[in-house]
Symmetry: C2
Subunit: 190 residues, 2 copies
């Protein structure tokens, strides 16, 4: 049974993600989740803290989903890295997270609304991206790359470019373009 705290986080994630953080009011989250206002402030203290809890949840949810999709490629690290771009395409098409659709990357969006790098929400966004780069680095090392850290940064940059392109230009094919570029980057491996 899901707790009220989880109800709030899941509802807030959906509304913040699709409608923006600043533009989405507390009252809307309360109405859609059916939770009382006092319960929200008991659990989170402020809207800002709810935003941080939502971003942490999204980080777990997204990285968990992506790892699962990449694992479908089997044991080869190179195949897993390429599979990531197929996962992006599923995400861009709106099929990855039922009920959420695709409204770009929640962390890029958060960094846009909370532009100061010192803002806690911006920092969570940065950490999320860093964690993914670390995961890519391990796979690149496992695949025998000469410079795993640099290669992982390049893969990550392709991923960010695909996300921004898919969202701003409403162009989900960006995943395929990025994948083709990644294939050339990884051609020497395995």
């Amino acid at each position: 049974m899901r707790s009220r705290r989880d109800d709030l986080i899941e509802t807030a994630l959906k509304l913040f993600y699709t409608g923006g953080f600043n533009a989405t009011g507390i009252d809307k989250i309360l109405a859609e989740s059916g939770v009382a206002k006092m319960t929200l402030y008991k659990h989170f203290g402020s809207k800002d803290e709810l935003i941080l809890a939502v971003l942490k949840r999204r980080d777990e949810q997204f990285r968990g989903w992506l790892s699962g999709e990449m694992a479908k490629a089997g044991p080869s690290p190179k195949a897993q890295l390429l599979q990531m771009f197929d996962a992006l395409e599923i995400w861009f098409s709106g099929k990855a997270f039922p009920g959420l659709g695709f409204s770009g990357c929640a962390f890029i969006n958060a960094a846009g609304e909370f532009s100061d790098p010192a803002h806690p929400a911006h920092q969570i966004a940065a950490e999320h991206k860093e964690m993914l780069v670390r995961q890519f680095t391990e796979l690149c090392a496992e695949a025998g790359a000469a410079d795993p850290a640099s290669l992982a940064e390049e893969i990550a940059l392709l991923k960010e470019g695909a996300i921004a392109t898919a969202h701003v230009r409403n162009k989900p094919e960006a995943a395929k373009i990025a994948k083709a570029m990644a294939e050339r980057l990884l051609a020497d491996l395995d």
Copy 2:
């Protein structure tokens, strides 16, 4: 002499860009620009229309600046495309637009806050990106690329990836990473 309308657009651009669209109130723009509220509504009718005017101004300003930076590379289209990534680095460091600093791409940010692709602000953002891709396509054709449209999409994707990485992770070196990747893409040309 700058008109009141320009004063409003320039001040709103700075505040929207650094503080976000929804989070920045009309009153702040009026206070900082020294313009009366009635004057704003005389010129723009609503905050939404001011936002659109700001995005159009930013489109002209940014593409004009970028074209100027690229032109510094001389007549070679390949050199101009590579020069673009040097321009990105200047932008990321905050030196491109005095008084604005670097808060990511105003159009990626706008698409984040106005996520619906049918929203006028989102559409202006998409058009801005499309115009840049068209410019890249012309340069790729001029450089003798076999498939100028595809190559331009790849260059554009590297650019978007660099912007997102530089902002979210506070990592201006992303420009150099993207440039190195672009050099490999363009190696066969000229």
